[in-house]
């Protein structure tokens, strides 16, 4: 199980849970698992999120491995200039 930290707006969508646990070995499994288990997160997941895994930023790479003890934080989708 991977611990996933959610930012405030996502947390409020699922009853102020700031951390959830998801069975996932990759970024793709994580995003899919979140959407399945917490349908209230789906609108934001569809709009796009970024994910910090052990302090580095990831956007779309489904097969990015996530370890059991990885720090995983969902972030609002980042766009630059």
């Amino acid at each position: 199980m991977v611990q996933v930290r959610l930012w405030g707006s996502l947390a409020s969508a699922i009853g102020d849970q700031t951390e959830v646990e998801i069975e996932a070995g990759t970024l793709g499994e994580l995003l899919e698992g979140l959407a399945e288990r917490y349908p209230a997160l789906r609108p934001q997941l569809d709009r796009g999120v970024s994910v910090a895994i052990d302090g580095l930023l990831y956007n779309d790479s489904w097969f990015t491995p996530i370890k059991e003890d990885s720090e995983v934080v969902l972030l609002a989708r980042l766009e630059g200039g």
Partner: protein, 749 residues
Amino acid sequence: MALGSKRDTSKRDFKIVGTRPLRPDGIDKVTGRARYGADMSAPGMLVGLVLRSPHAHARIKSIDTSRAEALTGVHAVVTRADFGDVEDAATADTLDNCMAGAKALYDGHAVAAVAAASDAVAKQALKLIEVEYEPLPHVTDVDEAMAPGAPVLHEGRTDETVPQGMSANVISRCQFGHGDIEAGLAKADRVLKRTYRTEATHQGYIEPHACLASMGPDGQADLWCCTQGHYMVRNTCAAILGLEQGKLRVTASEIGGGFGGKTTVFLEPVALMLSKKAGRPVKMVMTRSEVLRATGPTASSSIDVRIGMTKDGRITAGFAELRYQGGAYPGSPVNMGAMSAFAPYDLENVRTIGWDVVTNRPRQAAYRAPGAPIAAFAVESAIDELAKGFGLDPLEVRLKNAAREGTRASYGPTYRAIGLEATLRTAKDHPHWTAPLGPNQGRGVACGFWFNFGGDTCVSLNITPDGTVTLTEGNPDIGGSRASMSMMAAEELGIPYDKVRTVIADTGSLGQNEVTDGSRVTFAVGLATIEAARAAKREMCRRAAKVWGIDEEAVVWEDGAAKPSGPNAGEFPPMTLEEIAAIASNTGGPIAGHFEVNAEGAGVSFATHMVDTEVDPETGAVRVLRYTVFQDAGKAVHPDYVEGQFQGGAAQGIGWALNEEYIYGEDGTLQNPGFLDYRIPVASDLPMIDTVILEIPNPGHPYGVRGVGETSIVPPLAAVANSVSDASGVRLTDLPLSPPKVLAAIQSR
């Protein structure tokens, strides 16, 4: 593909990376040969011009183009009726921004376009287009737009994060942070509560948007344009026009500045549609007034901050509520403002709330570290005021609270190796910090943070028969990146810098490339370049192994040549890249390396800025006397261009702090759509901008590179404001710090 296994970052001795060779496109750019957006022409080309709304908000009841179409020399007229529906909401907004649908949403919004044989005929044709408008009430201020009863731009765009009962102009709400704000504030010796305001500023690139489009009846099209990302242009235009992406080839011209403002399309879909209807190539070039009225700018904001601090300078809690208007469509960068606001600090209790709001202004476009400078202005001003109030050294206070490796960032993740503390310590030890100040002079500091991005990237590296190298990449060179790529390729191959030529490919020559944004190019394209070079090296080792008749695992690459890996592998003299290239046809054919990746794992970057100003007590005018940038670059590939990014970001930030602002009249029209009244810093406004490059390697890049382009614009708004406060003895919370505002503040002191 395991990038993680190749993180040989900090201990490496570089031969080329870190030196300052001449940029390969330099001669073209000092001789006038380089071709920018407006510099291309085509046989039979027509001139395309846009008709723009004079109203801030109006229903378009009808558009009659018949008189324009009948004018001799007019070959096509386009309105929204020529475009179909687009499914994706953001792309549909882009289309609506390029060509208004049911309503004109801001002064300058495109409502029709013509293609004609000459500029004069096109101008005449615009006058013959009859648009019947029904003017509607408008709103351009963020706080007014949020108020119940404000004129509403769109119904039904609000998302599920917004509480019931708010104006439909409020699109979304976001919240970040951890801990307990009220409990933290209760532990403070002082809680500062302030409201800050910033005005919209434009990216201010000197090159107006321009393109040349050619589209045939078979749906094949070619487009030349100035953009930060021609693959984005291809994909967006294809979606808007219902084309297959592969049928549209986009070539990026040289780009005359972007700063985020050229990460979307404005003219391109219109030019393609005009070309399609006219059956001729169509060139479109914006005027400066069009650029200011209808492209860019960034958000304007109002921000409430509450910060608690103990008298020894520890921040006990930080709270900010940020309201950003991003113009007529959803998508202000408030998310990133809210995430970055307290990012430099190690806080037990921190919360930020962000509101994305629409108003009757042009749709905001990304501007260098979108959202972050605005948020940093508020937070860094408040921290400075608290530190000053306790008589504490503002650098010491920042050091005391600085985020470090292992700190949980205010936006969630735990930082890996970061350079904030290094920038603060270096600033404190720098002679600038202790230099004497004269009367009416002051000194300010501020910190800044940016995430930095990666994204889809393709690079192809070809070895020519004579042993030189062409590197093909897909990101427009906006400030010297060809040089950096050539350097990284040469470094990796072990050959001289001038043996590599880097070219920017059109969309037909490489796969998808993310736009030049998010300070991603040196990081992501650099990473792909290094990996492409490694692929080429592996192939060259294979060729040498074949020639020598030994196992390919027994060959290594060193100093530009293949060598047996050790005495057991066999006794062969090194075979150089040139020698391998010369016999490539005999050993299996041409040699190339390529690499395609969604480059993830960009490393964050921090900066501290220090600035001295002098305030004229009689006029309120502020003069910048001295400026020093301290920033972590991870690894500076070409230090000249790293310094250039630091200096350019500082200068733009100074403009934002002191002069630049979008000024709207009562009628909702932009009052200053020209460089005379929208005043960006000129040479005589600025001092030299000193830079100190720190190198705390990014563990996510083979050479340790971090993006550097955006962080440099984050601190200056606050640094300048803090300096002006120090100089004048009054605290200003509204940008820009224009002379009348500063004078009024001094006089009411």
